[in-house]
Structures are given as structure tokens and as C-alpha cells.
């Protein structure tokens, strides 16, 4: 083996050794994996369609925003009250005392004939049916109640007492009751209680100012031979207790009562946290009835006043032709059905326009109800009959707004996460693009304030600087209706200071400055299909450093 064989090998090795000795910095050095991300993102963030109806329903938590047949929106604030059948008519307990058998002078026993002979006595008598007013009831269908028959005999004879009446029908049959007086000691006494649920009591109104019920009695005395003394008698007392009806027919009487006394209809829609003035073009009050009693009513609105935010009020006068107003009722062919009716108090029959300002807080009112306002007539009432009365304050969104400012605050804590190393310095540039398609009849100005609550709600900065961004109203026609949306694209480049302040803030105050079209000088109508379409995009450029030990 010669040395020459190794020469190429030695040559190669020497090159390697020389190279290795002079190029080992990278091999020995540590790796610094710090990352600086200096990119940017431009893209859409959020979009939406703010429907006017949805907005109002959100703003008005009571949720009484509706639209009429034309789509015009209105706020409706109502209070309901119900007049039920028992409020209108109650049946008092009845006692019909019948001294059936009594003699003025004693009758010797032999006058009565042979012992064991039967002597009959008949009696038919009408008894006055007690009333609570001037009602003239023809018939009562008894839902529940008790008829009591109390019999006492002090004569020293036995006998058979038969009671009947074609004014009382039980199970469709005339009332008929046979009572055997089997004790000739003169000490007989008995009470019979009958459940008369489902029975019918027919009353006689043939005599003016009188309502009566007719009862028949037949007494068959069986002669014991004893005398009948003047102090002795056979007494029968008929009573009706706890009568409740399933139906009553006839004139139920004159009912006249104030069922709502100085109630208040408060308008939440007009009590938001806003400044400025809203002038309503056509505020209204409606009275709606739903009546399934066979009784006509008149409703009178009384004590009507508009109350304002400052505590003052003004009375509202309604024309006498519109107040009280009569409402319909079902007739005898409509038993069990209900009749709906309504009337409106507006600027045609009242001076309600006096209430048409943004200061309006509520309407005060009382409700008087008069039954049978045109005098006696045939009525009917079922046990579940009722008269529902709804008084609504209506605010059609036909109005003008001037210098109205709405505001709300939201949490905004982009830069206050103690666990985040993200700082405003990492944001090199920020631009927001706001694109709107305004289909509402309002000029909408927007401003966003960055707030630091730890510094006594200090306004650190605003998004749009000293100016607010204005989104002009949609194009409206002569009737105040939007016929075309107005599009606008606004780009807001945030300054270094704005970015710092935005990230230092912990809340944002969102303010909307609203005026109806043409500077709030004309009335415009708000329809349910109005909307404000918006789209927010942003371009943000970051210079964000991620240290290698982060996340450990």
C-alpha cells in the first residue's frame, strides 16, 4: 500500500477540515424565532338590514308596534277591561212564605165528618220575585242553586201536601212534590232541599213593576176526629238559595258605572333617552269593544287629558256626538256570538292634536259604561258573557323630527385584555368603510365616541372627528313616502391618536342624530318596509410581534 493511494483522500479531507473551521457561526448559533407579522387584512366585517319595524320593536320593549293595511307603522298602547255577566246581574235569594192552612176560629172535630174522611184544600198564589234594580227577567236558566221546602204542621191530623208550579221546570217537567204529613201529634216539621241545577224558572212580568212566580198547593187532610184550634196551622215556605244562572232572558236593567277611573296610557315609544322634538301629525285614541252579551252598551270616555314629560297636562275635549258612543250587541238570533265594534277619537272629533308633541308622556282617561242606553229592551246574558273594552292610544308614525339625538353605550374593550400583549402600537393603519343604503325618510347622522369610564366617563376621542357622518334620507314623494333609497359610501381613516384612544377606551357611546327629510319641516310617513341597509368593511395593517416565549 503506497502513500500515493491516500493523496486524493487526504486532499478531500483537508478541504473539509479547512471549510469546517471557518463556517460554523450558523451551526453554533441559537435560533431566534421572533416573528414580526407586518401584513394587512382588508375585508368585510358586518352587514345588515335594519328594518324600521324591527328597530321600533327593539326600541319599544312592549312590542306594540303594528302596521295598518297600507303598511303605515303605528305604536299602539292599550289597556283592556272586562265587564262580566255577574257584574251586570245577580240573582238574590228568594223566600216565598205561604201560610197555607190556618183557621180563624177553632173547628170541633165532629164538624170535619167521620174519622178517616179526607178533606181537600187548594191554593194558588203568586209570589214577588226579588230584584236588585229595575230588571224584568223573563226566565232564568239555573246553573246552580237550591230550592228548600219547609213544612210545619201543628194540627192533630195526618194529611198529604202536594206542591206544584208550571213556573218551575225541572228536567223539562213541571215542578211537582208530594209531602206526607204522617204525624198527627201537631209536632210535624220537615225541610226538603232540592238541587235545581239545570232547571228553569219562568217569571211573570204581566203586572207592571212587578215580577212574580206562581206556586200551587193542595192539602188533603185525613180526619183524626181531633179539633182544629185557631192557633194551629200547616205552614209551607219555599226558598231559592245561591242561585247562579247559565242564562237569563229578559230586560236585565239599567247598568251605569265608571269601570275605569283615571287610568293612564303611557307611550314608551316617546319616552326613549333622546333629545329633540317629535311632532306627531295624527295621534289617536281608539275604543274597541268585543261584546257577546245580548245587551247594548254605550261607552263614555271621561277625564281625558294629555300628560307631558314635565308633569303638566292639558284636557282633551271630545265632541258630544262622539262621546259617549254606542256599541253593538248580538241579538237573540246571535246567542253565543260576539259583536266587535270600535270608534276613534282623532283630530276630526276632538282637539287631541293638542297632545301632538314629543313631550307627550301619556293619556289619562276614565271609562263609563251604560247598559241599555236606549231604555228597556229584551236582553240575554249567558253565564260567561262579557264585554271587553280596549282603550288604545295610537301613534301613527306620521310625524316630523327635529334635532332628535339618540344615544346608547356599549362595552368596547379591544385593548384592555390583560392577558393580551396586543397594543395600539401594533396597529399601523386602520380604515373603515361604511356603506349605507338609506331607505328611511330621515337624515341620519352618526357619531361614535370612545369612552374611558375609569376617568369619569371621559370622551377620549370620536370616530368621525368634529363632524358626524350624515346618511341622507331616501327620496320622498309628495305624500311623505320614500320612493328611492339614497346610497352613500364613507371611508374613515383613523389617525394614530384615534387608534390609541380607541384601544384605551372601555366603552363606546353611539349617537344618532336624526331629522326627518327637509330639515324636519314636513311630516313624513314611516312604513313597515323601510330599512337602512349597511355594510362595514375595514382595512387594518398590523405590525405584530410574537415573541418566542409567548404562549408558554
Amino acid at each position: 500500500m503506497s502513500l500515493r493511494r491516500f493523496l486524493p483522500f487526504l486532499f478531500i479531507i483537508s478541504i473539509f477540515l479547512a471549510a469546517i473551521s471557518c463556517n460554523d457561526d450558523w451551526l453554533k448559533s441559537e435560533y431566534d424565532t421572533t416573528i414580526l407579522w407586518e401584513g394587512g387584512i382588508e375585508g368585510p366585517v358586518i352587514f345588515g338590514k335594519l328594518g324600521l319595524k324591527d328597530l321600533l320593536e327593539e326600541f319599544d320593549s312592549t312590542g306594540y308596534v303594528s302596521e295598518d293595511s297600507t303598511g303605515l307603522l303605528y305604536g299602539a298602547y292599550s289597556k283592556d277591561t272586562v265587564l262580566r255577566a255577574p257584574d251586570l246581574l245577580q240573582l238574590p235569594d228568594q223566600d216565598f212564605i205561604q201560610f197555607f192552612f190556618r183557621v180563624d176560629t177553632s173547628i170541633p172535630g165532629w164538624v170535619l165528618g167521620n174519622i178517616g174522611d179526607t178533606i181537600s184544600f187548594n191554593q194558588e198564589e203568586g209570589f214577588e220575585f226579588k230584584r236588585t234594580g229595575d230588571e224584568r227577567i223573563d226566565s232564568v236558566h239555573v246553573k246552580s242553586g237550591t230550592m228548600s221546602i219547609y213544612v210545619r204542621s201543628s194540627i192533630k191530623h195526618e194529611g198529604i201536601l202536594t206542591l206544584s208550579s208550571d213556573h218551575i221546570k225541572i228536567g223539562g217537567e213541571e215542578y211537582h212534590e208530594v209531602i206526607s204529613i204522617s204525624d198527627p201529634s201537631g209536632m210535624y216539621e220537615e225541610t226538603i232541599n232540592m238541587d235545581i241545577a239545570g232547571s228553569t224558572i219562568i217569571l211573570d212580568n204581566s203586572v207592571p213593576d212587578s215580577t212574580s212566580i206562581h206556586l200551587n198547593a193542595e192539602f188533603a187532610l185525613i180526619n183524626s176526629g181531633a179539633d182544629i184550634l185557631s192557633s194551629e196551622e200547616v205552614q209551607v215556605i219555599n226558598s231559592f238559595r245561591n242561585l247562579e244562572f247559565s242564562a237569563v232572558y229578559g230586560y236585565i236593567g239599567a247598568y251605569d258605572s265608571v269601570i275605569i277611573d283615571r287610568a293612564e296610557l303611557e307611550f314608551e315609544l316617546l319616552q326613549g333617552n333622546f333629545e329633540g322634538r317629535i311632532k306627531l301629525a295624527d295621534p289617536q285614541i281608539s275604543i274597541r269593544t268585543d261584546n257577546n252579551m245580548g245587551v247594548p252598551f254605550a261607552v263614555e270616555l271621561r277625564d281625558l287629558e294629555a300628560h307631558f314629560q314635565d308633569g303638566t297636562g292639558t284636557p282633551i275635549t271630545i265632541d258630544t256626538s262622539a262621546n259617549p258612543i254606542k256599541f253593538g250587541a248580538p241579538d237573540i238570533s246571535q246567542v253565543g256570538e260576539s259583536v266587535k265594534d270600535s270608534t276613534f277619537i282623532n283630530n276630526t272629533n276632538s282637539d287631541i292634536h293638542l297632545a301632538a308633541t314629543s313631550d307627550l308622556k301619556s293619556f289619562q282617561y276614565s271609562v263609563r259604561v251604560i247598559a241599555n242606553p236606549d231604555g228597556p229592551r229584551n236582553n240575554f246574558i249567558l253565564e260567561n258573557s262579557k264585554l271587553s273594552i280596549s282603550v288604545e292610544g295610537l301613534i301613527p308614525l306620521d310625524l316630523r323630527m327635529e334635532d332628535v339625538v339618540l344615544g346608547d353605550t356599549f362595552d368596547f374593550e379591544l385593548g384592555s385584555d390583560p392577558d393580551s400583549d396586543f397594543s395600539s402600537d401594533d396597529v399601523k393603519y386602520m380604515m373603515m368603510q361604511i356603506e349605507t343604503d338609506n331607505g328611511m325618510p330621515i337624515d341620519l347622522g352618526i357619531q361614535v365616541y370612545f369612552i374611558d369610564t375609569t376617568q369619569n366617563w371621559l370622551r377620549l376621542d370620536s370616530l368621525f372627528g368634529a363632524d358626524r357622518d350624515i346618511f341622507e334620507s331616501g327620496v320622498i314623494d309628495a305624500n311623505g313616502r320614500v320612493i328611492q333609497k339614497t346610497k352613500k359610501v364613507t371611508k374613515v381613516e383613523m389617525t394614530r391618536t384615534q387608534i390609541d384612544n380607541a384601544l384605551d377606551a372601555n366603552k363606546i357611546l353611539f349617537k344618532a342624530f336624526i331629522e326627518t327629510s327637509e330639515g324636519g319641516t314636513r311630516d313624513v310617513k314611516f312604513y313597515g318596509n323601510y330599512s337602512l341597509d349597511f355594510k362595514l368593511g375595514t382595512r387594518i395593517e398590523l405590525s405584530y410581534t410574537i415573541e418566542p416565549d409567548q404562549g408558554n
Binding site: A19, E30, Y31, D32, T34, E42, G43, I46
Partner: protein, 490 residues
């Protein structure tokens, strides 16, 4: 044809091929193509016959090879030594150079890796024939991403609005390779070899189509994509799909597959005939062929050529074809005046509705990445050889070329060494090194086309490979068997 003319033609052929595809190239282990003392050189050219009469490779290291390569990026594009910090920093470091990284990117960037380990590697000579039997576990993975993808990650959409993410892909193939080869020596002037390979597929994931486009603006982001992926996922049965054939993501999230890396976790299940068949890849058969020649036109000059890995695998078991066709526009989170407004949920629902993945179970075929080698070597002495190898790898209808020159020495019969220089694509700084030691019947070699240069010029290296082999050899000659040198070699 005169020998010198043939030599010239060969050189011209190599250079023409090299220059024809300068933009598409990649690195592979070429250093040991002409190296002394490496029995498994026949894996690059089945015509090669080793110096020894036989060898037996130790399981798993007989040999084991690992390669990773990038077609565009170099180490220096990602990491650089910063002398002021005295640290290596990435291109994303505040002191790093992002633009340099972006400039270095190709339109489509591919990182490919392959790991292969021979469980069995046996070769023996019988007269003029040399037989080989190999059983190899191979795993090939490649990930591609377009330049726009990196642009989006590094800069967002700061500089451009439209991004073409097409060719974003990931491919993986794991298979067993059973190879039987033979080389015949024609009168020491010519050797011809062929090797047949039975391929048994284990698992795969192949991106067939990747057509993804993203358009961004401050108003909307829209993405249109069509992605098709064929996959073989062993032991994954009953992938939850709805009645329309779309992947049921909710059910998938709740599915307990009871698998660990795709394999059953219980031993009885694992050792069942069905499982063993799956593990062995019996139902995913494939075939490949290697062939080549080695010719000695004139004394001391070798010309050789080979084609290897020309083959395919037919995947038939546990196959799934995923297709996702998306046309999605993001306008922002939709604001709704609802108390329980949850924009994230709405976005997720929307994405889930649009990001539907159609699943079918059609059989599919994948091809291996075939390589073509052209080699020329000149034996200066019996122990010193200079060689040149041109190699092209064919992948996805593209050619990835490499040209390597090497100096090979064997100062003593128990030791040989090779130093190589490779050129591929725009990478010129590639020094390779091969060392082979034979101590009695034990042969150990380590070869890398890149290790030295990656150390000398770390900023330039874009790939790395090594091959480590441990063999038991017998019947070895003191000197390399020089063809047409009959007086010296028996």
C-alpha cells in the same frame, strides 16, 4: 461507432437533457452512483454488479435512506445568520428579509420527502448473473403550495386582492416494495439489469385536483374551489355520509374509530387475517420495474443508463374519493336585531352548508415518480474514478433534473470515499460526500449529496439526503472489478 464519438454523444445527450429543463429540478442521491464499495448502488441502476460476490443488508439499515427536497426555497431564504444578533433568524424576524423569501418562491413550491428502509436486501453472484432480492418499506410525501399562498400568509391581502391557491396539495404514499432483480454481465463489456417490483399499498392520499381561487375586497371575499382527493385510509370503515353522499361532519366528529394512527388497537383485531391482509397491502397491489445498462465503449470509460420506479399502485381497499366544490362569498357577519344574535354560529352554519364534501368509494391508481439516470465514468486509475450522472425525476408531468460529478477513490480495499458536486435548478452549491468502510465481512457506508454543502453554504441548501447502509459482504475483491481488465481480476 468510434468509442470517442460515442463518448461525445453521451456527453451531449447529458448536457442537452440538463439544459432542457433548467427550471424544474430537484435533488436525489446521485453521489453513490459511481462510488466504490457500495453494494446497493444497483438500486440506482440494476445493471451494476458490486465488487463482492454477495451481500446481506441488515434489516432496517441495509440501507435506510431519507431525502427531503424543495424545488424553490433554500435554507437561506428561510433562516439567515444575523451577525449583530449573533443568532439565526427567520425571514419573519423583525430583522429578516420577507421580500427575499417571497422572491425566492417559485409559482408552485414543492417540498418532497421520502423515507425508505430495507427490511431485506440480499444480493449474490452466480457466474455472469448477479441476483438481488429486496423488501423495502417506503413512504413518500410531498406538499405543494403556490406563491400566492405564502403571499397571503405573510402579508395578508395587503399587496394584492386576488389569490390563486391552485396546486395547493398534499400527497402521501406508504407502501411495501418487494423487488427481485438480476444483472447479466456480457463479456465484461456490457451489463444489463432488470428488477421487477411488487408493490403493496398501505395508505395514500393523492390530490387530484386543486383549483382554488380567492378574491378579496373590502366589500366581499369570495372563494371558488374544486378539490379532489383520493385516499386510502386503512381500517377506516363506514365513513359517515348523508343520503346525498356528502360527508356528515357532525357524525364524523362524534365517531369513535377505535383506531390508533389508522390501525386497530386490540391485538386480536390486529392479527386477524383481514387485518394482516390490510397491513400487508395485499388488496392494493402495484407493479414497477427498474432496468438499466452499463457499457464500456473504451477502456476505462463507462456509460450507463437506467430507469427506475416505473410503475403504479392500484388502490382498491379502504378507498375514498373526496370532492369539494365550493363557491362561497363572505359579505361580513350578518347583523340581526335579535337578543340571541350569535354571528359566529351563523357563519359556521353557512360555511358548513357550503363546505360540503362529496364522498365516493371508487378505486384509483397512483404512479410512482419514475427516474431516469444517465451516467458516464472514467477510471483514472484502478482506485480513482471520476463520474458524471444526469438524473431526471418525472412527477406530475414535470421533470426534476440533477447533474452530479463525482470523484471517487478507494485508497485501500477496506475504505472508499466519494466527493461530489451537484447542480440542480438554481442551486449550484451542492457538495456531497460518501464514505464506505469494510471491516472483514462488515460493510458500512454513509452517503449524502448535501450534508457538506449544507454546512459550508447553509444559505444555499434546499435539500438534504443521506443513505446509511450496513451489510454483511463476502467474496469481495481487493480492487474494483474493472471490465476488460481480465489480467488483474479473476
Amino acid at each position: 461507432m468510434p468509442d470517442k464519438t460515442l463518448f461525445k454523444y453521451t456527453l451531449v445527450l447529458c448536457l442537452t437533457a440538463l439544459l432542457a429543463f433548467p427550471e424544474a429540478s430537484a435533488q436525489f442521491g446521485n453521489t453513490y452512483y459511481h462510488m466504490f464499495g457500495v453494494p446497493q448502488a444497483n438500486q440506482l441502476n440494476p445493471a451494476f454488479q458490486p465488487q463482492c460476490d454477495g451481500y446481506f443488508g441488515l434489516p432496517f439499515v441495509g440501507p435506510i435512506r431519507f431525502e427531503v427536497e424543495s424545488n424553490g426555497l433554500q435554507y437561506g431564504d428561510i433562516f439567515q445568520y444575523n451577525s449583530s444578533l449573533k443568532k439565526n433568524i427567520s425571514f419573519m424576524h423583525p430583522e429578516g428579509n420577507k421580500q427575499n423569501f417571497m422572491n425566492a418562491l417559485e409559482p408552485v413550491n414543492t417540498v418532497r420527502a421520502e423515507l425508505a428502509s430495507n427490511i431485506i436486501s440480499i444480493g449474490w453472484r452466480r457466474e455472469q448473473l448477479f441476483f438481488t432480492v429486496d423488501f423495502t418499506e417506503r413512504m413518500i410525501e410531498s406538499t405543494s403550495f403556490p406563491k400566492d399562498f405564502a403571499e397571503f400568509l405573510v402579508y395578508g391581502n395587503l399587496n394584492q386582492n386576488n389569490f390563486n391557491f391552485s396546486d395547493l396539495s398534499q400527497n402521501l404514499m406508504y407502501f411495501h416494495e418487494f423487488a427481485v432483480g438480476a444483472s447479466y454481465n456480457f463479456d465484461d463489456e456490457m451489463q444489463f439489469g432488470i428488477r421487477a417490483k411488487l408493490l403493496l399499498g398501505g395508505a395514500s392520499s393523492t390530490t387530484r385536483t386543486s383549483d382554488i381561487n380567492l378574491k378579496t375586497s373590502i366589500d366581499e371575499w369570495s372563494v371558488k374551489s374544486n378539490v379532489k382527493v383520493d385516499a386510502t385510509i386503512p381500517f377506516l370503515e363506514d365513513l359517515p355520509v348523508d343520503q346525498d353522499g356528502y360527508l356528515d361532519v357532525d357524525s364524523l366528529a362524534n365517531t369513535d374509530f377505535n383506531l390508533l394512527f389508522g390501525f386497530p388497537t386490540s391485538i386480536p383485531e390486529l392479527l386477524s387475517p383481514s387485518s394482516l391482509s390490510t397491513i400487508g397491502g395485499i388488496k392494493n397491489p402495484g407493479f414497477a420495474i427498474d432496468f438499466g445498462f452499463n457499457y464500456l465503449p473504451i477502456e476505462k470509460l463507462n456509460i450507463s443508463a437506467s430507469v427506475i420506479d416505473l410503475g403504479f399502485i392500484r388502490w382498491k381497499e379502504y378507498v375514498y374519493n373526496f370532492e369539494q366544490d365550493l363557491d362561497y362569498t363572505f359579505d361580513g357577519l350578518e347583523f340581526k336585531l335579535e337578543d340571541d344574535w350569535s354571528p359566529g354560529d351563523g357563519l359556521l352554519d353557512s360555511l358548513q352548508n357550503d363546505l360540503q364534501v362529496k364522498v365516493t368509494e371508487e378505486k384509483f391508481t397512483t404512479t410512482l415518480s419514475a427516474k431516469v439516470y444517465l451516467g458516464v465514468a472514467y477510471d483514472l486509475t484502478e482506485r480513482v474514478r471520476f463520474g458524471g450522472v444526469f438524473r431526471t425525476r418525472i412527477y406530475n408531468y414535470q421533470f426534476y433534473n440533477q447533474f452530479t460529478v463525482s470523484a471517487n477513490v478507494m485508497p485501500i480495499s477496506m475504505f472508499s470515499m466519494s466527493l461530489s458536486y451537484s447542480y440542480y435548478g438554481n442551486s449550484y452549491m451542492n457538495l456531497g460526500l460518501g464514505l464506505s468502510l469494510r471491516l472483514g465481512p462488515l460493510n458500512v457506508y454513509f452517503i449524502s449529496d448535501q450534508a457538506p454543502s449544507s454546512y459550508f453554504w447553509p444559505s444555499e441548501f434546499s435539500s438534504l439526503n443521506f443513505r446509511l447502509g450496513v451489510n454483511i459482504v463476502w467474496g469481495c475483491r481487493a480492487l474494483p472489478k474493472a471490465m476488460k481488465d481480465r489480467p488483474l481480476i479473476d
